[in-house]
């Protein structure tokens, strides 16, 4: 199980080595696509993936992470998720799904959310075109292998980057914490502002300053990072 991949991983010293190793995983795991995406506690992101450049560009341009059910589930969960189990309803999500399938992502996917040290998180995905029963057999038989591969990749990525990933303890002000907590709980900006008895403009300022402190590239990331660092009052 994964022996040749682990051997290869041992020799990996740079991110470009790691890139190549991750891309080689698709044949080892007998799957069309492999995606690894990490967001460090400093907010830096790293991704290695077999999707077409056109799809990646399109995804970034449209900021699809906002609505992508896989991303939205994985940043808040830690159990492995078969894409079939996600909620793909809603007009925007449906059209995103069709576009993804048309771009060769496949109709099946399995994603492993990874919680690393001090708020680091990553997402590892395999996807492809397959019939339901064959995909179910594949994920059942290879699940542990997929989970282990995802964590080996993550460990290596952290190891390569450890020099630049000094653990900074972020502290948020009570108002910033309140603002992100409301968003984490699913309130929209207007509802959050109303509950906190502040204007939407003020709320935006709190969110932006929290986002900056957390070095998050967008609000979704800020919420996820704050949550993974235990900074929010979600229960």
């Amino acid at each position: 199980m994964l022996e040749s991949f682990l051997e290869r991983l041992e020799g990996v010293e740079t991110l470009s080595d790691l890139d190549a190793a991750i891309l080689s995983l698709s044949s080892e795991l007998d799957v069309e696509h492999v995606v690894y995406h990490s967001v460090k506690s400093t907010g830096e992101q790293y991704a290695a993936l077999t999707y077409s450049d056109e799809w990646v560009a399109r995804y970034l341009e449209k900021d699809y992470a906002r609505i992508d059910p896989v991303v939205q589930a994985c940043i808040r969960r830690f159990h492995p998720i078969d894409w079939k189990r996600l909620n793909w309803s809603g007009k925007a999500v449906k059209s995103f799904l069709h576009e993804a399938i048309d771009s060769g992502i496949g109709n099946q996917g399995f994603s492993v959310p990874i919680r690393g040290p001090s708020g680091q998180f990553a997402l590892f995905t395999v996807s492809g075109s397959e019939k339901d029963d064959r995909w179910a057999t594949y994920t059942q038989e290879r699940s542990r292998e997929l989970i282990l591969a995802s964590h080996y990749v993550n460990q290596k990525a952290l190891e390569i980057e450890c020099g630049s990933d000094q653990l900074e303890i972020v502290s948020l002000s009570p108002r910033e914490t309140d603002a992100l907590t409301m968003l984490a709980l699913g309130f929209n900006r207007a509802q959050a502002a109303e509950s906190l008895s502040i204007s939407e403009h003020t709320l935006r300022v709190y969110i932006e300053s929290a986002r900056f402190k957390l070095a998050a590239s967008n609000t979704t990331h800020a919420v996820a990072r704050a949550m993974n660092q235990g900074l929010l009052n979600i229960c």
Binding site: D63, F78, V112, R115, L148, N188, M227
Partner: protein, 212 residues
Amino acid sequence: MLRYIYADDLRRAPKLARTMFRDRGEQFHTRLNWKVTVAGDGSERDEYDALNPLYVIWERPDGSHGGSLRFLPTTGPCMVNDHFLHLTDGVKIESPLVWECTRFCLAPGADTRVSAALMLGGMEAGRASFLTHAVGVFDARMVRVYRRLSWGPIILGTCGTGRDAISVGLWAFQEDGVRARLLDRVGVSSGVSEGWLTQSLDGIAALDPAIA
């Protein structure tokens, strides 16, 4: 029934959440006298509740808490690795195939069926996530209860004595016949138990796109 709820979804079940934290205060503070933090209303929470853990909760017909436990991945911050290394010979248990299980709690008056249901819930969550083991932190006197329910832990270490005794132990998910015996104890079919799990965990909606 059993429910599997991440902390950020507890607000959808306010009564269940309120009574769970209240019963935790009752058990860990009042009854066991552990050094836990209790709020003015008697509810008990710690910093790990803020890390969006997964709770397995036995819900009573009236929507209140009958018992619960809490899961966190051992690859991130968790109690065993942060506070109980002296019970594991200093070994960090860090694996994507092992989750930590803590705060095994029973509501006052809950019977052994609830204990069995919680163990079944732990088993179902572990199986669905392809885990090999759970590592638990628990009241040492509960070991007898776990064994009687046919799924005992391998004890890694214990500190304290009497009702202060706290143990760290490992549960294996691939023990022959354990799931069947737990289903039997709870009096629920395999299909219904799986239904409880998928009903709880499926279909996570995206955050409101307006905020992103």
